[in-house]
């Protein structure tokens, strides 16, 4: 059938099974918006900032397991979108971004709202395309979706000049892609898997280290089976929260800068690190010179470039985590003697008991950790949890009882303040039966606060719990520990009235100072099924502990005990 480029965009999205897109119109993308108007298969959510469009698509992708789609215009529309694109890139989230571009004859002339989208997004996309001929459009879109979701997932940009979207051609959506230069390895080398199996049988203190790749691969069941079979203790990264399950006795919790004592000690003492879809980020490893000093390292990852990037690896296995872990289970099952890691586990359980995550609760002032625990205890079965970036993010990562990784969204690699709310919108759209909660801070929430309006307009209720300490808390904490308490530009005592903001954007607001008020506000917000801000006054100087100072070794933690002195409010 003969049709315009813009119609081809719509038909291609339908062919990909896309039923929702997040976007913002503008000059160069208007042809596509005209076609969106004429159809009713695809729902369009109008976020109020292009960054939020891409982050909502990102949140939708994380929770649904599908490819998220964002549509933006050229120039400022695109530069606004960049932070969202970079976020998806750093956390390997499959998103396709369709951007308008000035007409091809104007490209390169500094036309109105022209920016070299391909050029500036090259380092933060998995791949990007400039469409120069309408006859290539359907094929490019097919390839974009394939590249975004396969291998190590990531964002893919398709930049469409305005004249291309109005040109006509015959529409044919290809059934398959033909990319001779792009063939991700799915199946791991079985010889390597057998070597790893042998290494496991020879190890005394092995440790499984799970990262975001395991989430993207959908390997939760396989990894839990592996633990059940071997009784190897395990730690999770921020990205992988929920894979092990909070009540799994073999889980030592999250490791890294704000990880648990037991997780970091396990990593310091292990003799075999089995990395599954993790990437040895600096927030995880601390000082690389002492990291895994006594350990052999096995690294399972679909991205060969991730392997041996930061640490020397003894057992590299390139492949899809889900497939490789199942192969490992099959090999191990042939001959595995349970119970050989009994004393290692005992040792770690002792660490866990000696230094659990702790905080001092109070009846006078709300503690952020209590708020997180209460969310989990009371509503954990129903919540899909999103966070912004900062102290609240770490408290959520530490104290929330994670049940499944698909119920957890956090900007981990890029650390994007403003991620929480638009991501929670995407998550809610993907799982309308869940309570979408964004745990945020009084700093982060303002970075995409306008999305309260988006959520209200479309009836996508998101409950925003602001842990409000009137500080840029994480920076304040660093200033307090490492900058002799020179609190440069972190005091946010000039406060917004968040209840009024919520109401102004069509939501409901609650101001909360006590435990009962918090529980009442949450219950009411859930019952009203509306977008809400619950502005929780918390202890202003609460710190996130334990903490491994940047560049220190994992076993050099600042513990709660060390800093547990009476503090002024």
């Amino acid at each position: 059938m003969n049709m315009t480029g813009s119609k081809i965009v719509i038909e291609s999205l339908i062919n990909e099974g896309v039923d929702i897109v997040f976007g913002y119109p503008g000059g160069a993308i208007m042809n596509v918006y005209d076609e969106l108007y004429k159809q009713d298969t695809i729902t369009h959510i109008l976020n109020r900032h292009e960054q939020a469009c891409v982050i909502s698509a990102n949140g939708y992708a994380r929770v649904s397991g599908k490819v998220g789609v964002a549509v933006v215009t050229s120039g400022p529309g695109f530069t606004n979108a960049l932070t969202g694109i970079a976020d998806a890139y750093m956390d390997s989230i499959p998103v396709v971004i369709i951007s308008g571009q000035v007409p091809l004859p104007l490209v390169g002339t500094d036309g109105f709202q022209e920016i070299d989208a391909i050029g500036i997004s090259r380092p933060c996309t998995k791949h990007n395309f400039l469409v120069k001929d309408v006859r290539d459009l359907a094929r490019i879109l097919k390839e974009a979706f394939y590249i975004a979701r396969s291998g190590r997932p990531g964002p893919v940009l398709v930049d469409i000049p305005k004249d291309i979207s109005s040109h006509h051609t015959r529409f044919h959506y290809p059934d398959t892609v033909n990319l001779p230069t792009y063939k991700p390895t799915v199946k791991g080398n079985i010889k390597q898997v057998k070597k790893l199996s042998k290494a496991i049988s020879e190890a005394k203190k092995p440790l499984i280290y799970v990262g975001g790749g395991a989430v993207r691969s959908g390997a939760t069941d396989e990894i839990r089976k592996l633990l059940e079979l071997t009784h190897i203790p395990a730690v999770e990264t921020l990205m992988a929260r929920g894979i092990l399950g909070f009540d799994n006795p073999l889980s030592m919790g999250m490791l890294g800068m704000h990880g648990t004592y037991s997780a970091n000690m396990a990593m310091s003492e292990t003799d075999l690190i089995i990395s599954i879809g993790a990437r040895f980020d600096d927030r995880v490893t601390g000082n690389l010179n002492t990291f895994g000093k006594n350990a052999k390292i096995a690294h399972i990852d679909i991205d060969p470039a991730s392997i041996a990037k930061l640490v020397e690896v003894d057992y590299p296995i390139v492949g899809d985590v889900k497939v490789v872990v199942q192969d490992l289970i099959d090999v191990l099952e042939e001959d595995f003697h349970q119970g050989k890691f009994f004393s290692w586990n005992e040792e770690l359980q002792k660490y866990k008991a000696e230094h659990p995550l702790e905080y001092e609760d109070s009846d006078e002032v709300l503690k952020p950790q209590w708020v997180i625990e209460t969310l989990g205890e009371k509503w954990g079965d129903d919540i899909v949890l999103s966070t912004d970036v900062g102290q609240h993010q770490m408290w959520a990562a530490q104290f929330y009882p994670f049940r499944h990784p698909d119920d957890w969204l956090s900007s981990s690699g890029l650390g994007t303040m403003g991620f929480g709310l638009p991501a929670a919108i995407g998550a809610k759209v993907a799982k309308m039966d869940r309570i979408s909660v964004n745990v945020s801070g009084d700093g982060s929430i303002l970075m995409n606060i306008h999305e309260i309006m988006t959520a209200s307009q479309y009836g996508i209720p998101v409950i925003n719990v602001i842990l409000n300490n009137a500080y840029l808390g994480m920076v304040r904490q660093w200033q307090s520990f490492f900058y002799d308490e020179r609190f440069s530009q972190t005091n946010l005592e000039y406060r917004a009235d968040f209840t009024k903001i919520a109401e102004g954007f069509g939501g409901i607001g609650y101001k909360v100072k006590t435990k009962q008020e918090f529980i009442d506000a949450m219950s009411d917000a859930i019952a009203q099924n509306k977008t809400a801000i619950i502005d929780v006054d918390i202890h202003r100087k609460e710190d996130v502990l334990p903490m491994v100072p940047a560049g220190a070794s994992l076993n050099e933690m600042i513990l709660f005990k060390d800093t547990n002195k009476p503090k002024d409010k």
Binding site: R122, K126, K309
Partner: protein, 158 residues
């Protein structure tokens, strides 16, 4: 951890399309890798171009460069063999005041020849291994070359 910095010549086969050079160059720039020389030309009768890149780094860096290059979607393959033949072309312009036969002899030692002479200058071309080219350029200094154009390394596996 600190390892010896080595020189490495890498051949990259990538789809000959707009922007692919920028992808490769951007990868080196963005990740802080060195490009000493780079030559690019289409591979005959194919959709690919061959990039010959001379780079420096320790073993780990070179490994990462190869992996990151392979990760680029338009890249078909990366060859990092050390069993290769390398050649580099250099053009040198001398003043015509020099003794032509001196220059001619010197060029011949380095597989080259004088290719153009006019009233002002003499242009010579030399094709040889990169380390020999370096030697050649050292030796001709005394003839005060007016201009030197190095072509970058090309290589082929044995």
């Amino acid at each position: 951890m600190k390892e010896e910095i080595q020189r490495k010549v890498i051949s990259v086969f990538a789809v000959n399309e707009q922007g692919v050079l920028a992808r490769i160059a951007g990868l080196f720039a963005g990740r802080g890798y060195n490009i000493e020389t780079m030559t690019v030309a289409p591979v005959p009768d194919s959709v690919y171009s061959r990039f010959t890149i001379e780079t420096r780094g320790n073993k780990k860096t070179i490994e990462q460069i190869i992996k990151q290059l392979n990760k680029l979607i338009p890249v078909l393959k990366v060859i990092d063999s050390s069993d290769i033949i390398e050649k580099e072309t250099v053009l040198v312009k001398f003043s015509a005041d020099n003794n032509l036969s001196d220059i001619d002899v010197l060029c011949k030692v380095y597989n080259g020849r004088i290719m153009n002479v006019n009233e002002n200058s003499v242009v010579a071309v030399v094709v040889d291994e990169p380390n020999r080219i370096a030697n050649f350029l050292k030796i001709i200094k005394k003839y005060s070359p007016k201009e030197i154009v190095r072509g970058g390394v090309v290589s082929m596996e044995r």
